[in-house]
């Protein structure tokens, strides 16, 4: 064998990893590490249920009916969306911290494909979002939220899945903003978006101009869709359009910055 004049470089004797480096091992390690981060846990698992207990559990809310449930359930869904937003954004924005630490550069010394890396980030963000929604709903179930079981399930799944728009948002911001403390900027920004999107206060309780503008902000669509099984009201079409457009915008932004990031080398 060794006497043969080698037509191929020696490198070809070695294989590339399957799935561009994506693996269960990688995903499990990333999940474990993320859950170790106290700030992430407080942000995504504790703040949303606490806000729910503050805003949604007064006596009036528990007795007043909205669609198929009570106002407490309505507030619960909104805050589950808020939790999923926080979880997805911080999951996506983790790329900023990893770039600052030189970890992204380190990964470029491995066969890991950028797409596999982004897939891991999104899956971790979704897992965080799922836990956040489940924890918030568990607190809600014991604190007077009332709606049929299939609406618990439907709204929970919608809150979780639609919040993916914020994974794209987190990735975009993670590639756009420098530094280790990106969530210190994004935390207040998300609170603002949640407010503007009617997650803290229903839009019909706001001034007309503000309420009209608010319909174009990214959290509005997710909230409307997630609450739809409960309320059966609102403009579902506009909400779906809102989520679709913002997902496109954020994903395009993330792809643009991502490409710059990987080309800079």
């Amino acid at each position: 064998m060794t006497t043969v004049d080698r037509a191929l470089p020696q490198a070809m004797d070695r294989a590339l990893p399957r799935f561009g480096g994506f693996s269960g091992t990688f995903l499990a390690l990333e999940l474990r590490r993320t859950l170790r981060n106290r700030r992430v846990v407080i942000f995504t698992f504790i703040i949303p249920p606490v806000f729910f207990l503050l805003f949604g559990t007064n006596a009036a809310a528990k007795t007043e009916t909205v669609g198929h449930g009570n106002v407490t359930a309505y507030v619960l869904i909104s805050l589950a969306v808020y939790g999923a937003m926080l979880a997805n954004t911080s999951g996506g924005a983790a790329v900023s911290i990893e770039r600052a630490a030189g970890w992204s550069r380190q990964l470029r010394l491995t066969p890991l494909r950028p797409a596999a890396y982004v897939a891991i980030k999104i899956l971790v963000a979704m897992a965080l979002g799922l836990v956040s929604v489940v924890v918030t709903y568990a607190v809600g179930a014991f604190s007077g939220a009332r709606m049929p079981w299939y609406i618990w399930l439907g709204t929970g799944v919608l809150a979780w899945v639609c919040a993916l728009v914020f994974a794209a948002f987190g990735l975009f911001m993670g590639y756009l903003l420098p530094g280790e403390n990106v969530m210190q900027i994004l935390g207040p920004a998300l609170a603002l978006l949640a407010f503007a999107g009617g997650l803290f206060v229903p839009l019909d309780q706001m001034g007309h101009t503000f309420a009209t503008l608010a319909r174009f902000t990214p959290a509005y669509g997710v909230g409307e869709i997630a609450r739809y099984p409960l309320t059966g009201a609102g403009s579902l079409g506009a909400a779906v359009l809102n989520v679709a457009v913002w997902t496109l915008v954020f994903a395009a932004g993330a792809a643009w910055r991502f490409r710059r990031d990987t080309q800079r080398v």
């Binding site: 490198a11 590339l16 390690l29 030189g102 010394l109 066969p111």
Partner: protein, 306 residues
């Protein structure tokens, strides 16, 4: 290790041809050609800003040369990296502080098609005893050995170390090199950048001296040190900013600083005779230096601007 015995027909571990890399107006690497054979342990020796890290980045495909070509075992650097043929220990960063040592190594090994077992990697880097420690709680030396364990994950044929002991204390430095040395004995090709002459002298069998993006000397540690044992001829000679050492009999290298020409001489008498008889040189002086002084002169450049 005798590199002359390496058959000329084998693929070079590293082949750089006329490589130039610029950042804006700054020429970081200025026409480097370098061939390294499998099994060599090579030190890239030079001061900060000499272009060592830029050279290494190009070997790893982290940056592309403005002109010239780079290949690693006959393949483009990115291919060699992705297949685990070459890996590197970078100078700083590249670690996440909320992973443990073992998790970091497991993750890195999982990314390669045939990554080595974690326990083996921890053992070889001498960090099995701190496997469950958080990276953020590790000392600089421990983090450096962790980077080494990560670099060993694909069992690379070529290992590149960029100033691996910068910032380490004496003990950390010794432990790190003990781990590298044990590994190099197995026949791996190693390239390391350093600005310590002692480190190059002790651990390399070939030293490539780099200054201001150019290779200024290439040889065994003994040959490199011998460069310094010559004499320096210094004279005032206005009006000429560029000299070819071949223009002056007995000269090895020529440098011009303002009106002063400084010649590193193989034969200082011949240089002095030429300068005084064939040029307008005046105020000529001849000095000899010890090895350390010579090395400092070779690597410390007062005009260093980046």
């Amino acid at each position: 290790m005798d590199r002359q015995s390496t058959p000329a027909t084998g693929t070079s571990a590293v082949e750089m041809r006329d490589v130039v890399k610029t950042f804006g107006n700054v020429v970081a690497v200025d026409g480097v050609s370098l061939a390294i054979s499998p099994g060599e342990v090579v030190a890239l020796l030079g001061p900060n800003g000499a272009g060592k890290t830029t050279t290494i980045d190009m070997l790893l495909g982290l940056s592309r040369p403005a002109s010239g070509s780079v290949s690693v075992y006959g393949a483009p650097p990115r291919v060699a990296v992705a297949r685990g043929l070459v890996s590197a220990v970078m100078q700083t960063g590249g670690l996440l502080k909320d992973y443990t040592v073992a998790e970091t190594v497991r993750l890195t090994a999982s990314l390669f098609a045939s990554g080595r077992p974690v326990d083996e990697l921890l053992d070889r880097a001498g960090i099995a005893d701190i496997a469950s420690r958080r990276v953020g709680l590790c000392s600089g030396g421990q983090q450096q050995r962790l980077r080494f364990a990560m670099a060993l994950a694909p069992n690379p044929d070529l290992l590149i170390l960029d100033e691996p002991t910068t910032g380490l204390d004496v003990e950390g430095r010794r432990d790190f090199w003990a781990a590298i040395r044990a590994d190099a004995a197995a026949g791996r090709t190693i390239i390391f950048a350093t600005h310590y002459l002692a480190e190059a002298d002790e651990y390399a069998d070939r030293v490539v001296l780099i200054r201001r993006g150019r290779i200024v000397a290439d040889g065994t540690p003994a040959e490199i040190k011998a460069i310094g044992s010559g004499r320096t001829v210094r004279a005032t000679l206005p009006g000429r900013s560029q000299w070819d050492p071949n223009d002056i009999p007995g000269a090895r290298s020529v440098e011009v600083r303002g009106d002063t020409v400084i010649v590193q001489a193989n034969d200082s008498d011949a240089v002095a005779r030429h300068l005084l008889t064939s040029t307008g040189a005046r105020d000529l002086e001849i000095t000899s230096r010890n090895i350390e002084e010579a090395f400092l002169a070779l690597t410390n450049d007062p005009k260093e601007d980046y």
